[in-house]
């Protein structure tokens, strides 16, 4: 597609439920990133993929968070047993090269609300 797409755009869930967030990167972009954006907190790095492997998972806040990427394309971020503090906008980005050296293209985000 023309840009990075994410689904759903909004997700409201109850505390304790699991959620899956999806990201479709720009075709041909081998690097894919997940961030979390909370009000006044900037962008918090979660995880990075190069192809299907995740060399850097250092930002995942707890073992309730996991992510996978298949076929070097679509990625899914899963949050198990959601908590209210998980409420945030989850952003996906992709780039041709490494983020530290290349422009990242961001998706519109998924706004997660945990009641």
């Amino acid at each position: 597609g023309a840009g990075v797409s994410q689904s759903p755009s909004n997700k409201v869930t109850e505390k304790g439920k699991d959620v899956e967030l999806r990201c479709d990167p720009i075709s041909g972009h081998t690097a894919l990133y997940w961030y979390r954006q909370s009000l006044g907190q900037g962008l918090e790095f979660l995880i990075y993929f190069q192809g299907n492997s995740a060399p850097d998972k250092s930002g995942l806040p707890s073992d309730r968070f996991s992510a996978e990427r298949t076929g070097g394309s679509v990625s899914t971020l899963t949050i198990q047993r959601t908590q209210q503090e998980d409420s945030a906008v989850y952003l996906c980005a992709s780039s041709v090269g490494l983020a530290g050296e290349d422009e990242q293209f961001f998706g519109p985000g998924t706004r997660l609300t945990v009641l």
Binding site: G40, G42, F45, A99, G100, F106
Partner: protein, 114 residues
């Protein structure tokens, strides 16, 4: 770990005023520097970037930024802002060592009144 500090969380200006948004980072090695912008209702997008060479870089929409290595700073400037510049601005730093990710500042919300 590296960190990025943006000095102002909110800035309010009138149209035609000059803008300078501060950004400082903590990392002693070689860095790549970015400013991203998020207009209301839109995706984050790249405004400008510095990798090497002339420390004064120009980006889209008349923005520029200056890298001052001795001050660990990469401040964003625009001589005359417009109402359409209302947005949130994020400074980001990447280590030029093959490291995979960027560290973002907390953002500065700019409101330009007509």
């Amino acid at each position: 770990a590296q960190s990025v500090s943006q000095h102002n969380h909110h800035v309010i200006l009138s149209e035609a005023a000059s803008l300078e948004l501060g950004c400082n980072y903590s990392y002693g090695g070689t860095v790549n520097l970015f400013w991203y912008v998020q207009y209301p209702g839109q995706h984050l997008q790249l405004l400008l970037k510095y990798f090497s060479g002339d420390p004064l870089v120009k980006g889209i929409k008349g923005f520029e930024a200056e890298f001052i290595k001795s001050k660990f700073s990469f401040n964003l400037r625009k001589p005359s802002v417009q109402w359409s510049d209302t947005a949130e601005y994020f400074c980001a730093v990447g280590m030029n060592s093959g490291y995979s990710t960027l560290t973002f500042g907390k953002g500065t919300m700019l409101l330009v009144s007509p």
